[in-house]
């Protein structure tokens, strides 16, 4: 998971793409340590220190990781995983965002 996310951040560096986490770890120190160790440069929402946090509950998340792709217009594209097909979809959406940004 981490290497794949890092590769996406690298691939779309300078482009309209961002990873935002919603973290359900039991304490913030774990997240800080892991972020340094695994070079996680993106920000995460703090969801209250449990898997029953308010954001995960509202979004009905019961399995981790769960990943949603959101386009530049703020519309949900769909839930995605790490397949080649999903990577292509992200790329397609980043290109759409770039085009929209240039208009």
């Amino acid at each position: 998971m981490y290497p794949h996310e890092r590769s996406l951040v690298e691939k779309f560096h300078g482009k309209p793409f961002v990873i935002l986490g919603i973290n359900s770890d039991p304490n913030r120190e774990i997240v800080k340590t892991v972020s340094v160790k695994e070079k996680l440069t993106w920000r995460s929402f703090w969801d209250g220190g449990s898997t029953d946090g308010p954001i995960a509950s509202q979004w009905n998340v019961t399995g981790w990781p769960t990943v949603y792709l959101i386009d530049h217009k703020g519309l949900i594209v769909r839930r995605i995983g790490m397949s080649k097909e999903d990577d292509n979809l992200i790329e397609e959406k980043v290109q759409e965002a770039e085009k929209a940004g240039k208009k």
Binding site: P16, V31, T66, I90
Partner: protein
């Protein structure tokens, strides 16, 4: 975390039933440095049926808890992998419990044992000889009137490839008037119907080779049953069933255990409806406003104009 732990166990139970070993209860405790030895196979204890069931459940639950403690304390993946050999054989316990229940269908302890067995054994598709399939069959055959039967529905709520799961929920919904049981059966049926409708969409996009492979795993009839279902009607009924749970106080108050917490079906139904209605392709993403790990404020809408990968994660 625990979700992945149990998933791992389930996969292991499924593919690698623990090796039979001589019961060796009186063997002196060996030093930890020696190679780990799989736990002994369970033996049916003496006593009345109720005592037998209780003793088996207690023994297995304690062994699993002890195993889990060791597993969580393991410092590396390799260490954890080695520990899997020490995992208690829950299938064997479940088989013994189902035997007791089959011999004593009228005993109330049989019901608790069977519910334990369906919750704690693996669920390979199509098989009728597994502790899971036998326990499920015994519950329907001998315990359909039991006021706790809604727990069977809850256990089966993700088994959408098993045509029996939906039928059981329908049957219990029709038979019981108690609001808690109604709520549990409705919740389960809603999830099953919705999942079957979604699966039908997926199956109808597959090439014939992929479809054949799924038919081989789950059975031709099971797959055909999913494909033939009326997708729109199933989704509509699923939503109606959940709406009823959120609207009726008696239904909403029914609870389900998740880990060591109790959640109400009212809450769960509401979250599920939110996901089905709002978290769908093409829908505007709901705002998330809160703080980041360092306590600084953070809003999803700050990133409009960019593609966002919204990643629910934890380091486990």
């Amino acid at each position: 975390m625990q979700i992945w732990f149990w998933a791992g166990c389930a996969i292991l139970i499924f593919f690698e039933p623990a090796v039979a070993d001589e019961p060796s209860e009186k063997e002196p405790v060996k030093k930890e440095a020696q190679a780990p030895k799989p736990p002994p196979k369970p033996i049916l204890p003496a006593g009345k049926p109720g005592e037998q069931v209780k003793a088996l459940i207690k023994e297995c639950d304690e062994a699993v808890a002890a195993f889990r403690k060791k597993f969580e304390a393991a410092k590396s993946d390799e260490e954890q992998e080695k520990l899997f050999e020490l995992m208690p054989d829950r299938e064997a316990y479940a088989a013994l419990i189902v035997d007791v229940a089959d011999r004593n269908p009228k005993d109330p302890a049989a019901f608790d044992g069977l519910i334990w067995a369906v919750r704690n054994s693996s669920r390979p598709p199509k098989r009728t000889d597994t502790p899971f399939a036998r326990a499920k069959a015994a519950l329907i055959r001998d315990h359909l009137d039991n006021p706790g039967i809604g727990r069977l529905c809850m256990t089966l709520r993700h088994e959408f490839c098993d045509p029996g799961a939906k039928e059981i929920a329908e049957m219990i919904l029709a038979k019981h008037s108690d609001k808690c049981v109604q709520s549990q059966a409705s919740f389960s049926l809603a999830l099953l119907l919705h999942a079957r409708a979604m699966e039908a969409e997926y199956l109808n996009k597959l090439e014939s080779k992929q479809l054949e492979s799924l038919e081989k795993t789950y059975g031709k009839e099971a797959i055909a049953g999913i494909r033939m279902g009326d997708k729109a009607a199933q989704k509509r009924r699923a939503e109606e069933l959940l709406e009823k749970i959120t609207e009726d106080k008696g239904y909403a108050a029914a609870t389900v255990e998740r880990g060591d917490k109790k959640l109400t079906l009212g809450d769960l139904a509401q979250r599920q409806l939110f996901e089905w209605r709002e978290l769908q392709p093409g829908k505007p993403v709901p705002e998330i406003a809160g703080e980041d790990i360092d306590g600084k404020s953070l809003k999803l809408s700050d990133y409009k104009g960019q593609v966002v990968l919204l990643d629910f994660w934890g380091h486990w």
